[in-house]
């Protein structure tokens, strides 16, 4: 769909999945570029008061990033699983760098602009969430995996069910409990 984006990205993803850390270093800037593009869209959309179609966004990100036909994936599910893990890795690292760059760091987010007036959604702290998710992995690996797929990978309940190979209702239950527990963790820490 968007052949202009690095044609070797799929290869890199495969390589990274097989443990090639150099591949990750080359993948990261590509995801960052995508992130910047989304950020611009986000701001433009916010200013006009539009709510972004999140699924469309995330799907577009993947479609742009990966050329499906280039490699025979073991399955669609396999691809989704790898992509979600990659996204978690890169996004959390990105959030960590952003956090470090902010000196002092304000505890309160002040609504200072027209942008903020529209933005009343709660945004979890990605770094803290990643840490809580690591703890969840210890307690219930499947729930943690489902969070990774849904939140970092942007998958639907059905797609997540396909990856984890359980029923949709099980994914729904896991997702419900995991979110409640993570929310509790994020409030209790610090």
């Amino acid at each position: 769909m968007a052949p202009s984006i690095a044609p070797n990205i799929t290869q890199l993803l495969v390589a990274w999945n097989q443990g090639d850390q150099d591949a990750l270093a080359r993948l990261t800037p590509l995801v960052h570029k995508e992130l910047h593009r989304l950020a611009h869209r986000y701001m433009a959309g916010e200013r006009r008061g539009h709510v972004l179609q999140t699924t469309a966004l995330i799907n577009e990100a993947f479609v742009r990033l990966i050329d499906w036909r280039q490699v025979e994936w073991q399955s669609r599910a396999h691809f989704f699983g790898v992509a979600a893990t990659l996204m978690r890795h890169i996004l959390v690292q990105f959030a960590r760098e952003q956090q470090a760059a902010k000196r002092g760091g304000g505890a309160i987010q002040v609504s200072l602009s027209e942008v903020a007036h529209h933005n009343t959604r709660y945004s979890p702290n990605l770094v803290a969430l990643d840490e809580a998710l690591a703890e969840l992995e210890r307690l219930d690996q499947r729930q943690a995996r489902i969070v990774e797929l849904r939140f970092f990978g942007g998958l639907s309940l059905e797609e997540a069910a396909e990856v984890v190979k359980v029923s949709v209702s099980t994914v729904r239950r896991d997702w419900r409990m995991a979110q409640a527990w993570l929310r509790q963790q994020l409030s209790a820490t610090r």
Binding site: R88, L91, A101, A107, A180, W181
Partner: protein, 642 residues
Amino acid sequence: MTPEHYERIGRLFDAALERPTEERSAYLDHACGDDADLRSDVEKLLARHSTSGDFLSRPAIEVAAELLAKDHIPFAPGKKISHYQILSLLGAGGMGEVYLAEDTRLKRKVALKVLPEAIARDPDRLLRFEKEALAASALNHPNILTIYEFGAEGETHFLATEFIDGETVRSRLVSGPFPVKEAIAISAQAAQALSAAHQAGIMHRDIKPENVMIRNDGIVKVLDFGLAKLVESSGAGLGPVEAEGETRMQGLTQAGTIVGTVAYMSPEQARGKTLDSRTDIFSLGVVLYEMLTHRHPFIGETMSHTMVAILEKEPAPLAQTVREVPVELERIVDKALAKKADDRYQNAAALLADLKQLERRLEFDAEPARAPRVFTRGDAYGSSNPALHAGEAPTQIVKALETKAEREPARTSERATTLGSTRSARLGLLGRILVLIILGVLIILGIGAWQWLRSKSGISTLGSPAVLTERNLTYSLTVQRYRDGRPYQQEFQSSGSEIFEGGWKFKLNLVSQQEGFLYLLNQEPGDRYRLLFPVPWRDNGSAHLGANERRETDWYFFDDQTGKERFRVVWAAGPVPQLEAVRGLVNKTTKGLISDPAHIQAVREFLQENEASQIVIDKETNKTNVTARGPVLVTLIELEHQ
């Protein structure tokens, strides 16, 4: 926690959720038995589920993109954009950031207005920006900001304009009203700019104190023809507009779209009607009124109150707030502020003519005979007395004293007797003059000492500093809960004991029985502060709060970092210099964070000095009443954030 325990909690959590809400408690009683810890763990999760169910519903990449979008970092000094080298950031506003830069080719300073990338990528907004450049660059007038170039480098779009060393009418308003003559002179220059623009078929449509700059040499420049559009041919009072321009601008001239700052809108603009150049005359009238009275003629509690006032209310006569206002000026302002465009000045030139005539008359009247007035003027707001700085001041003051003395002969001679003993009374005329001169010197010294004390004490007071009257401030907190990113339940008045969650928001409602100045600070870790109020986009950026006037802050919301949030509300009888110094630095980039070490130190010291003042907090009906004796009130609000 062990995986086994987690699994047990999970089973109970799922089972409870499958039951109707009212049966859950009974179910948990039964299922948990004596295990209070287990029950508490399950209940906590159930509570989380009900308050913030799908909190991960937005994918991480969007959260990250949001982080990035909000963390825009301005260009650093030294950065080159095209042939311009950034020297410093001058400010940031709705349409982007403005830098002081050097044109490396022509070796001159320019103001470089840079569009945020996000806007530059938005074709609609980019178009609007280009139109601004196009419209304004067609104008060539000493009172209109000169546009040098509209260009782009890569994805950075910019507008290079003349750099004005001076300040806006808005920032000058901080220190009180303008002297009548100056307000007239500034308005006359702005009217000249409008007249030239209107003749070229261009309206400003957004005249406000922020857009009128006073250069250090007194020349006025009207900026930001940002919303200017070519006047439609249907518009009254102006000649036909060339056909090409009309088509070019069609996208911007639809009636029904409200663009611009509400508070300075004309009634027809507030109604979203088709506009003509007379809209600018109304807006300039509002600016003139505000310069004279230090008050906005129509401002209301909310945007809609303001709009209703613009449409229906007659502003209070100038004479109510301005001493010795010329009748003619009252008439000019009334005519500029006429609700119906047909009753207004029909063009800027007519307004200009009236202002000029009045200016000449006042100059004529201001000959020596009226000098005493100079002495009595200007001290009401604690602003410096112009006569004290002018070269001819001493004579004027002595003259003033003479006049004063003549008006109160009895008291003067009484004082003269005590001061100079009985002999002075026998000295006749010469003695009386001598006594008057001594008295004059003593008064000058007194004023000087008082001003010195005032500057030392850090805040200017409206009343006498020696009298400590009791002042009060009442505030309440409005809270809005959020669930799944949407408002949840009705907003409510905080009792002060709520535990706030990430995503919830609140605002402060404040009122004081006395006229004063209001500031709100948020204390950050490391004893740093953010100035949350006043902000440029509310109440015209002024900290001024009238007696019994309600003030509502922005909504503030909590992010994910937990702990105790500390806010300090400062009310003072006069502007607080330590806070006024940082007020101008609040913009969307700094988010009010005070970063200059000297400023931080000044704010800290101010708070430390004033926190000792006695404050009685009387809580009733969720409103907190703070009282204190003295000109400054500081109160701490602590919110628990989980």
